[in-house]
């Protein structure tokens, strides 16, 4: 390739083709290496996004061709769909409780581990294992068992004479079992926190303690402010993941969001609309609304970040 170019260049140096061939030389390899990605990006991402935007204004059952119905899908979502409202409430409850709790555990354990504890690699591995396994169907099955009426949790409570409810089949508690499952997987944000804590210069603590600042004060005045970029990052990733969570709710509720829609995650509702009832148009509208939610959340986080995230200048 390069040899060929060296031959060709002097030959038509004055003509326009050399410009083109040089441009080809410079840019083509990049595009060639990106070719698989481009095909995927346009064929499997951008194309489908546009297509699902169109479908969200149609009535489409997979068998007959989509029929344009204007804003009817969106209208139904906001005026005439109790299940949609329920799924929003369930999902927001899940996000609002699971993400902060998960991050709090992750940060607390990371700070403890960062104090030069012996056996750090072992602890880190133990705390990380659940987040590696947690998305698995097997773990959701285990969770169903733990929180069943005769499950492990209630057997444990009975030692103290407490008769626990059937957590999974009680609509007041079923969502909480999923929140607990999510918090149990705090390992990966913990590892990111640990990496962030290592970046904080030690001399800041040394200077602070020479000045007589307590550990508690050091945490609030040094650790937390310097860690805000990591907190910010973790919060965004975990929130998006929480919005997209599907498998545990599907397995624990047998794919229905039961009992009485108390675990009807947004994704679960969307899946059922699409693949149980074949309301593809409506499901596309749901998907676009989810995209909008996540985009707004992300944009909002970035816009407000300058007020609370500490960046080195």
């Amino acid at each position: 390739m390069t040899v060929h170019a060296a031959d060709a260049a002097p030959q038509d140096a004055a003509s326009g083709t050399s410009k083109w061939s040089r441009a080809w030389q410079n840019h083509a390899p990049g595009y060639l290496f990106l070719l698989p990605w481009f095909i995927g990006f346009f064929g499997l991402t951008i194309g489908p996004i546009i297509s699902s935007f169109y479908l969200s204004f149609t009535d489409f059952d997979l068998l007959t061709s989509p029929e344009w119905i204007g804003l009817a899908n969106y209208e139904r979502m906001f005026t005439n769909d109790r299940a949609f409202a329920t799924s929003m409430r369930v999902t927001f409850t899940f996000v609002l409780f699971s993400v902060p709790l998960k991050l709090a555990f992750a940060l607390a354990i990371a700070i403890l581990l960062n104090r030069g504890m012996k056996g750090l690699p072992l602890y880190r591995a133990v705390f990380y294992l659940p987040s590696l396994l947690g998305a698995s169907v097997a773990i959701a099955i285990l969770w169903r068992q733990l929180f069943a009426g005769d499950g492990l949790v209630n057997q444990f409570l009975s030692i103290f004479g407490i008769v626990g409810p059937s957590w999974i089949s009680n609509p007041n508690y079923s969502l909480w079992t999923l929140i607990v499952l999510s918090v149990w997987q705090f390992g990966s944000p913990m590892i990111i926190f640990l990496a962030g804590l290592r970046q904080i210069p030690q001399d800041m603590y040394e200077a602070a303690s020479l000045d007589g600042a307590s550990k508690w004060r050091q945490f609030w005045k040094i650790t937390l402010p310097l860690l805000t970029p990591v907190v910010f990052f973790n919060a965004i990733i975990q929130t998006i993941e929480a919005f997209k969570s599907f498998t545990p709710a599907f397995i624990i509720s047998n794919g229905t969001g039961s009992p009485i829609n108390s675990t009807l995650f947004y994704t679960l509702y969307l899946y059922n609309e699409a693949f149980s009832y074949f309301r593809m148009g409506y499901a596309s509208a749901l998907a676009w609304f989810l995209l909008l939610l996540i985009a707004c959340f992300t944009a909002f986080s970035f816009l407000t970040s300058k007020y609370w995230v500490h960046y080195d200048d």
């Binding site: 040899v3 410079n26 390899p29 990049g30 290496f33 698989p36 990605w37 995927g40 499997l44 991402t45 489908p48 996004i49 297509s51 699902s52 403890l112 581990l113 030069g116 504890m117 056996g119 750090l120 602890y123 880190r124 133990v126 705390f127 990380y128 294992l129 987040s131 590696l132 998305a135 698995s136 169907v137 097997a138 773990i139 099955i141 285990l142 068992q145 492990l152 057997q155 444990f156 997987q185 990966s188 990111i192 990496a195 040394e206 303690s209 990052f233 973790n234 990733i237 998006i240 997209k244 498998t247 047998n254 969307l270 699409a274 998907a287 676009w288 989810l290 995209l291 996540i294 992300t298």
Partner: protein, 298 residues
């Protein structure tokens, strides 16, 4: 990386004060007690699952909360053949899919990452930003048109919808991970190779890839684990039992046996996470570094 080196020693100015040392000691004991307690709490459900899978059916729920040991492997045999199609088929399917996804991701993502990290071309930053945006994209928004596309191609009930996208670098996480790694490889190496007349393809193949084994292994393991774990994709595209993955098989097991064969269900649940656990044991350090450097989700 730097994660392993415990180095926080707060200088109190009174290092040799016996009372300060005692305080430090007490703190350390308390911290370990707390961490050990938390570790037990974290691992207990997993240990219970393991213990339950080795118990005779009638003892699973009667033996209380303390894991008592017994070595009855009957559940494993029962569970393995509990359904019309045995778990041999499910495991084979899962392995084939996971293997192909690993191959696809390694090829396509490393090519894309090489272009982003090293090659000069028009619009590079723009496309890189686009790639990062797809990281945030919820898969639901492409789900239905993709399904229609794959249906029209006649790919439903085959593994193609699960595998082919990986050959198009749709997992932007790995592109990002590899870009980060490639940027750390000294540029002098490819510049020297270019002086010797090597083109981009040779540099990619002979310099970048051999120097990137750690990141390639990390990407391979994560791809394997995520594909192995994936429930949603197979749920949508695979409808015939002989095509099921392990995760779909497990879910069908829950539905079909309902509340009858817990031993078998637990045994198969344990087996379904064994491959992940093995990778965890073997490559724990790489996984943790991978997460720490990119902040991946799991």
């Amino acid at each position: 990386m730097t994660i392993d080196a415990p180095k926080l020693t707060v200088v109190t100015g009174a290092e040799n004060d016996p009372r300060a040392r005692l305080r430090k000691r007490i703190f350390s004991v308390l911290a370990h007690a707390l961490l050990i307690g938390a570790s037990i709490l974290m691992l207990y459900p997993l240990l219970w699952l393991l213990a339950a899978s080795f118990k005779p059916e009638n003892e699973i729920f009667t033996s209380g909360i303390w894991p008592s040991l017994s070595w009855d492997i009957d559940s494993y045999f029962r569970g393995w053949n509990a359904m019309r199609v045995s778990f041999t088929v499910f495991f084979m399917n899962s392995f084939v899919i996971a293997f192909l996804c690993v191959v696809g991701n390694l090829i396509a993502c490393s090519m894309a990452a090489y272009a982003f990290a090293r090659l000069q071309f028009k619009g590079r930053n723009f496309w890189f930003a686009m790639m990062l945006m797809t990281l945030m994209l919820p898969y639901q928004v492409t789900l239905i048109p993709q399904y229609v596309l794959f249906r029209d191609l006649g790919w439903v009930n085959t593994i193609l919808p699960l595998v082919v996208p990986k050959f198009m670098a749709v997992d932007a996480f790995f592109v990002f991970l590899m870009v980060q790694f490639f940027r750390g490889i000294p540029r002098e190496l490819d510049e020297a190779a270019m002086m010797d007349g090597a083109g981009p393809w040779r540099i990619y193949w002979k310099i970048m890839l051999p120097l990137s084994i750690p990141v390639l292994v990390t990407a391979a393991i994560f791809t394997f684990i995520w594909t192995w774990d994936d429930f949603f994709g197979p749920l949508i595209y695979l409808n015939r039992m002989q095509d099921y993955t392990v995760m779909l098989g497990l879910r069908t097991f829950v539905d079909s046996t309902g509340e009858s064969d817990f031993g078998g269900l637990f045994a198969m649940s344990v087996l379904s996470i064994v491959p992940i656990f093995v990778f965890f044991l073997l490559f724990q350090r790489l996984l943790i570094e991978g997460i720490a450097t990119t902040g991946m989700k799991r």
